[in-house]
């Protein structure tokens, strides 16, 4: 069985097992399934990073026509990831702290941590300091939707809050209540 990686139109390289039909089936053997889950997790996260996607929902596996089509379906082998299998994988990712249910208390939709909150915190701090905005009060909107594309553009607020929370613990940021809502001030010089 000659399986080979496949590059999609968006330039993403799919692994060779994506062309392996059993990859889409939830395996009964737990050890095998663990491998499958691991590979799926890797695939989802790398694709999310590739396309800067933060959310995946179980429904994405149900119907075509969304951002995830390229990995959740493989028309070349006529397979798609069943929603139940995706749900299992997402649950596994949440338990491994690679994703979180968002909104909480449901299991249909997750935020993907293709970078962990700590990594995001570093990215955020780096960006703030490199753009010279230390010690100024910024709204969340200033961070997630700046006029110029940044690594943080489109970052979900949940992840942003977590990242800020990480910075607060190390006394590098402070949450401030301002008129437009919430603001944050980053401290420099340490």
């Amino acid at each position: 069985m000659a399986l080979s990686p496949h590059t999609t139109q968006s330039g993403f390289t799919l692994p060779s097992i994506h062309s392996f039909p059993p990859f889409f089936t939830k395996q009964v053997n737990l050890a095998t399934q663990a491998t499958v889950t691991e590979h799926w997790t890797k695939l989802i996260l790398s694709y999310a990073r590739h396309k800067r996607l933060f959310t995946i929902r179980v429904e994405d596996a149900q119907k075509a026509g969304n951002d995830w089509d390229e990995i959740l379906r493989n028309e070349r082998i006529n397979r798609s990831l069943p929603p139940s299998h995706l749900s299992y994988i997402l649950n596994d990712m949440v338990s491994k702290n690679l994703a979180m249910y968002d909104p909480p208390k449901q299991t249909g939709s997750v935020l993907l941590y293709w970078r962990s909150p700590e990594e995001w915190a570093e990215t955020l701090y780096d960006w703030v300091s490199s753009s010279g905005q230390l010690n100024t009060i910024m709204t969340f909107l200033d961070i997630t939707d700046p006029p110029v594309q940044t690594p943080l553009s489109g970052l979900p607020l949940t992840i942003l809050r977590r990242a800020i929370g990480v910075l607060q613990k190390t006394n590098r940021a402070q949450m401030i209540a301002i008129t437009e809502g919430e603001g944050v001030r980053f401290f420099g010089g340490r």
Partner: protein
Amino acid sequence: MGCLKRCAQVVDGSIPVQALLYPDEDLLSSQEGVGIYDGTLKSPSHQNGTVHITTHRLFYIDLAHPRRNSFCLDLSHVSRTDYYAGLFTSSAKATLWLHPLSTQPRTNRTAEQLSPALINSAIAEIWVCEVCSFKNSTAGLSPEAAKVCSLCGVPRSLSSATSSAPTPTPSAPIATKSVSLPSSYHHLSSSLPSSSADLLEVGSASLTPAETTPATGELGPNGEIPCPACTFLNHPSLPACEICGTALPRRQKSSTKAKSAPSSRPISPAVDSDEDEDFEAGSDEMKRMIKISFRKGGDKNFYAVVKRSLLGRGWEIKGVSKSTLASPGPTSSAATSGINALLQNVNLNAATSQSNMENALQDLEALMVKAKDMVRLAEDLNERLTAATSASAAPMLSSSPSLTSQNVVEPEEATFIRSSLSQLGLQMTNAPVTLDMIRDERRWIEELAKELGGVLQGQTDDNIGMMRQRGIIALDEVWGGWNRARGVALIPPTTFLQVLPQLPSWTSPPINMRIFASSGLSVLHTPPYTKAAFASRMVGLINLTGPITTVKVAQDEQLPVGLVQEMVQEVEEAGEVCRDEGGSGINVFDTNGWDSKGGNEVMWWVNIFKEYVWDGQADL
């Protein structure tokens, strides 16, 4: 008193019913607490008694006056029966409809004529058969049986000499006087001299001239029937040729004559109507019935027996054959007569003595069966002797515990038993091993394992074992097959399971047991069907042909699908293969998700996940 009077006969009810039966008559059922309806009205003198149904007759034994009011009724009079289940205070009833008098079976009347009332009064009549000169006695025979020579089966002819052993004179006055004698014949006969020889005279006197002629010239050449096959002139009463056994043509005249003269006697309606005013020629059917009212239940069973007895028609079919049965053994049919019958009787005698001999030999066989028990007893004795000697030996061997002393004795005992068994010729090689053959539990199991190995793999070339063709077989089948092969001393499942661990050492290639974890199914299998061997074979198959379904594997292995499924599951469990449940999801119908699972058969692929190295996007 219409039909009761006409058809029933008075019997002495103080005599037990069994004693009243003909030799060929069987008592079938009895029911007490019944009353009799004569026609539609209750018969006042028959209101509390017991009815008995036999193969021939229906008895009513009155409780209050058994001697006077009891009667019996020939079942041949009964044309049909009805049953009424009862309602509230009305008891269940069985209705017996009787033949109208004119259509009453002739044969019966003939019988009555030939042995009138004598049967009931238990007075024997002796007559000599014309054909074989056998002296027949009518004593205790049913009317039908009494008409036929009990040796050769030739119907009795009128002219055969009769002599009543005791003169029936005492019964005659009774017959004349007692009004309770219901049969009209008796009234007829009562007016006659009661000696049966006289009676016969009267009978022939009443013959019409046309028929008396052949009757008198019976033995003349004209009366004889030439056989259509061999032209032998046969006695007119023979149904078949005496020489060659060919069925003889029945001549109208001679047959009626041969049957009986009285049948053609001017029949009695006139007499009857004289006697019973209520029984006119135009009497309605309602008067020709007898009802049995079951006041104490038991009606259903009794009615069923009556029906059966009527269907059996024991009074006419068996009448003849059973009468000959009184002599040595059963004859084939009533039709045989003459020399055939004599020869048959000789044969029957031989057969009877043969069966007697066999019965005697059965005892010997029983003794042979018992021999085993005797051996066991001897074994017991031996055991006790051993125990006694070991017990006496124990104090002497003070240092060694008694256990070892027993162990010392054990082989001796075993050899003794075994040698004595073989001396008795009881240790058969092909007999199933039973526990009592080998007392040692461990050895027993071993022997069983050996035997089972033979059953599975076949001891000889012509005996193909269960697993000669198949490498894997479910345990229940093995157990069933083994016990079927044993036939006796079946092996309980517990013992069977004990035997299995011993099996590999007695089989080649070794047969092992394996239990499937998922279902608990236990199988016996040869080495090619171990988990690893099967897994590698399956992987090889997939590599060869591509992904494969369970059914395909089963086809390839020529095993049941269910079994293969279990095996494949184990392979999957081992991580050698992985499943693809299909479910494309590419077309719109699959978006529901319902088609993605059940619709497709699982395809098995080699598990490549184990050695897979990530070759996708590498920018983590």
